[in-house]
């Protein structure tokens, strides 16, 4: 049972070679911590995004492990060096077969 959700990437579409660019990646997800109880007193099972990776022309440049301590709709802001024109691929994967992929292009001059 795989599921997915909306994601969004904010980053510059062009940059000078060697410049440090800031990337903001957000995914729509409840990040159910697994520590909460429903009104009936039942423990709500954990359902979170576990791993976020960013690849730059198929080379991994950033990875993060998420735990229940990350808030709902996880936003992560990180940096990378603009090395060449190409595609950045972002991938979120988590519990219950959750997977979301987003891409962004960059022109490096």
């Amino acid at each position: 049972m795989s599921k997915t959700s909306r994601t969004s990437i904010t980053m510059p579409s062009s940059a000078k070679k060697g410049a440090i660019i800031e990337i903001r990646a957000i995914a729509q997800h409840d990040m159910e911590s697994g520590f909460r109880y429903s009104e009936g007193g039942k423990l709500i099972p954990r359902d979170i995004i576990r791993v976020f990776t960013c690849t730059y022309n198929d080379v991994e440049v950033f990875k993060a492990d998420f735990y229940p301590g990350i808030g709902a709709n996880p936003l992560i802001i990180f940096t990378t060096i603009a090395t060449e024109t190409g595609t950045l691929e972002f991938k979120w994967s988590g519990d219950d077969g959750y997977e979301a992929i987003n891409q962004a292009h960059i022109i490096v001059s």
Partner: protein, 161 residues
């Protein structure tokens, strides 16, 4: 003749009331926050697992969270490490640990010289007023740490739906 039975009834009622309050008290102790939240030892254990018992030096790591948080559900956390981020000297990973959360680990970010800078911003949950730690793992195997204290008025993680 009626009066004695009345007092007898009220005293029994009182006794039941007392028993009930005792029960509530016992339940309260059972579900006390101490059992639900990680203690400092848990955070120390999580740090121990990351470092493998190596010495963690203070400095280099700068962790920013608001000193007063109204709602612990969404707290902006910024962490940066003072590093040139070159092929010979860079930050391999940043681990963020919260002492007062049910699970001390918050996130781990893996960086490389291609990151350019060691700066991460994200939004976290904080269950209680506490100290949050950031541990930076350098490429040469050394560890640095930084911390920030915060006051949380509305807790996250364990509230009812």
């Amino acid at each position: 003749m009626i009066e004695p039975t009345l007092t007898h009834q009220t005293s029994r009622r009182n006794w039941f009331k007392q028993l009930q309050s005792l029960g509530v008290l016992a339940l309260g102790l059972w579900f006390s926050p101490l059992t639900a939240f990680a203690k400092k030892e848990d955070a120390a254990k999580a740090i121990q697992e990351i470092t493998g018992g190596k010495l963690v030096q203070d400095g280099k790591v700068n962790l920013v969270i608001p000193p007063l948080v109204e709602n612990g559900n969404l707290v902006v956390l910024k962490v940066s490490v003072d590093s040139p981020m070159t092929a010979n000297d860079y930050v391999k990973a940043i681990h963020v640990i919260a002492e007062g959360n049910p699970l001390p680990n918050i996130f781990t970010a893996y960086l490389s010289p291609r990151s350019g800078s060691a700066k991460i911003t994200t939004r976290v949950r904080l269950a209680d007023s506490q100290t949050v730690w950031a541990i930076a793992q350098m490429n040469n195997g050394s560890f640095y740490r930084g911390s920030a204290e915060t006051l949380v008025t509305l807790s996250a993680c364990t509230e009812l739906v």
